[in-house]
């Protein structure tokens, strides 16, 4: 008997893997499509990998023992101050909400990234989905015809099925390495459309035969990758940022994070459900202050441009925006003038769909060494984000075959102070 499990090779994106299958859209009237689009719920998830310092961003403690060299500046919301390294975001605080009392469980990257992005639920012997895969499942792909979970990241891309956990590979991430479409996406010019169609028909037949002796979800994922590829083939213009106004390119910045945020905006405009943008290199154990002096402004500019653009397009009513890391950074400044990992009392910034505007939830003590109010774990934040999107996180369940599973940690609740 054949092995029912697929191999990673079968999920690699290539032209061959992308060919074929019908579009998902095109079956609704324009009016209905417009209505659906207006009701569309989407997420932008900005992941600053390694750990942005809360003290050099959302929860500055100037002129204190651990406060570092930077000032706090006023924002567009009276009484709320953030780091001077975020001047553009400060002007848009009236769109945003900050939770300053986040306490999570891991102080290592290897465990922290996974636990945070999977919501750190109780252990039930299954691997929970990353937030992007969860949203792909719970919100669906909509009518965009594009994959529901797209990850814009530096370096390599591909189909990251592991993110989906027990939901199955179909809910994995389509990762656009360096913001570029998968390699060999377009049909080579030497192959005619008719030949291409013929090859596709052959591929479908092979798929059917392959499916006969395998688990449905693996073959579903395989077909799904083809479908998505077919859609991407029709939307290659999405990736050509050079055609955007130079003003936009300047506002977002020419570095990786700027370009990737601009691509993320286009993907959201086209209706992708969940767009994750990752920036690596935030693990500033050494020279933290010069590091943040360089890094944070390169986040600030495109993040603020994104918030401004989403607001101007009325998209903040539909799009939930989250910016975070796997933890914060220690108040203590080490001998390398760095800050180490700190899950004890850190901050997450969010805004948009379902959230109050211009608020701060939770506080840390004067030195930033502890939380002075109710601490919130990642499970609280998952409840908050689900509920902001209209998902009843306390009652809604996944079904892993016949096993019911809560979608967020059942001992936790939403952060009411930030829910609209």
């Amino acid at each position: 008997m054949r092995n029912p499990l697929c191999t990673p090779v079968e999920h690699r994106l290539s032209r061959r893997a992308f060919l074929g299958a019908a579009a998902l859209g095109g079956l609704v009237t324009p009016t209905l499509a417009e209505t659906l689009r207006n009701e569309r719920k989407q997420v932008l998830f900005v992941w600053l990998d390694g750990g942005i310092s809360q003290l050099e961003s959302w929860d500055p403690k100037p002129n204190t023992t651990f406060g570092g060299p930077f000032r706090a500046i006023p924002t567009s919301v009276p009484g709320i101050h953030i780091s001077e390294l975020l001047p553009e975001t400060a002007k848009l605080m009236h769109h945003l909400a900050i939770v300053r009392s986040v306490r999570t469980q891991d102080d290592s990257h290897s465990a922290g990234v996974d636990r945070i992005q999977r919501g750190d639920p109780k252990n039930r012997g299954v691997v929970y989905p990353y937030l992007g895969s969860a949203m792909a499942k719970l919100l669906g792909a909509g009518d965009s015809g594009l994959p529901p979970y797209v990850w814009v990241k530096p370096m390599n891309g591909g189909f990251i099925y592991k993110d989906a956990g027990f939901l199955g590979p179909k809910y994995g991430a389509l990762a656009l390495g360096d913001g570029k479409p998968p390699e060999n996406l377009l049909r080579p010019s030497e192959i005619s459309a008719a030949d291409d169609e013929e090859r596709n028909e052959l591929r479908k037949l092979a798929d059917q035969r392959y499916t006969a002796n395998r688990k449905a979800d693996t073959t579903e994922a395989n077909s799904y990758a083809y479908e998505m590829a077919a859609q991407l083939q029709k939307r290659v213009e999405l990736f050509d940022l050079a055609k955007l106004p130079k003003k936009d390119q300047d506002r977002y910045g020419s570095h990786d994070l700027g370009r990737h945020m601009l691509l993320a905006r286009r993907l959201l405009e086209k209706g992708v459900t969940f767009v994750k943008v990752t920036s690596y290199g935030w693990d500033t154990h050494g020279d933290n202050f010069n590091g943040h002096s360089s890094l944070v402004p390169k986040f600030d500019k495109p993040f603020a441009a994104m918030i401004q653009d989403l607001a101007e397009r009325k998209m903040l009513d539909n799009v939930l925006v989250i910016a975070m890391s796997e933890f914060g950074r220690t108040p203590r400044i080490n001998g390398h003038l760095g800050r180490d990992h700190w899950p004890e009392a850190w901050s997450v910034c969010m805004g948009g769909r379902g959230l109050k505007k211009g608020v701060v939830a939770g506080t840390t003590n004067d030195l930033g060494t502890d939380i002075a109010t109710e601490p919130y774990d990642i499970g609280h934040l998952f409840h908050t984000w689900f509920q902001a999107l209209g998902i009843e996180s306390e009652t809604k369940q996944y079904f892993n075959r016949s096993q019911p599973l809560p979608i967020a940690h059942e001992d936790m609740h939403a952060v009411k102070e930030v829910l609209a």
Partner: protein, 334 residues
Amino acid sequence: MIPRTLKDVGKPIFPTSQILRIRFSPNGEQLVAACTDGTVRFWDTAGKEGATLRGHSGWVTTLAFAADGRLVTADSWGALTCWSKDAERKKLWSITAHEGWLRALAIREEEVATVSRDGTVRRSKLGNGELLNKTSLNADLYSVTYSHGSDELLIGDLFGKVHWLDTAGKRVRDFERNDFHLLDRIQDVGGIRGLTFSPDGKTLAISGAMPKTGGFVQAFPMLELVDAATQKTIWKWKGANDNEGYLHDLKWLDNDTLVGVTSGQPGQGKVLVWNAKTTEPALVHLKLPNCHSVDAAKQLLAVSSTNANSSGNGRGKAAEYRHNHSPISLLSLG
């Protein structure tokens, strides 16, 4: 004559704060420190603590004495302050010299030059802080020195460029030392952290590191000696390991001898003494972790380092969450 070893003189001084810069007073009798708690602290060479100057914000980032003993201090919020030369150390004047982190200053006769993260270099009157001129160089500026025997300024930036300006702020020339900079992902790392002329003005020392990564910041400390007239490299030294970090401070002891200190990953730190004619250090002192500043007076070296076990993820098991501090060691050059 470079000694074979550096011997401790007395017990280390234990300040309550971390220290970014230490300097001896011109007569060598006082040691003064720029502290991350916003204070400026004094000790005599026996380790007895004297005055504490307050009024700065953020970190006190650097300081320097005028020849007559007046003290100029700077902070990370852009303030520049001048204190009297007498024992009272009265505040003579204080100005907001820059829009943000004032990283380095230099004094020549009745003028003080400052550079900042705000990308500008400013000349002020030493007497009252009055602005003489200000020039934008559109880069994060890390180091500044007066050219030997003139009022021209050399400024080192984050990207490894040395800007040479005349007294009016006009460009005389610039030269690049790209090894001192790395763009790692989206982080610009490194920078020319120090520029120092030899006492005879013939040689310029450029110090910092060759970065290997951002984030964690793995970097090889680096020192390049340059012919001041031609800007040609005489020699360049690079540390052996990428965990050694930056050459944070450098001092010419005389025309033939330099001393520098390094701080890399927690626990890594060296005091290095070079014969200016030889690339490899003649003396390497390994007993002090994470050294950030050094100065010399009267055959005495003062080195600020960092307490042991300064790093660690999370809260740790200790009941109290403690900050780190910078012990100051006095070492004999004799």
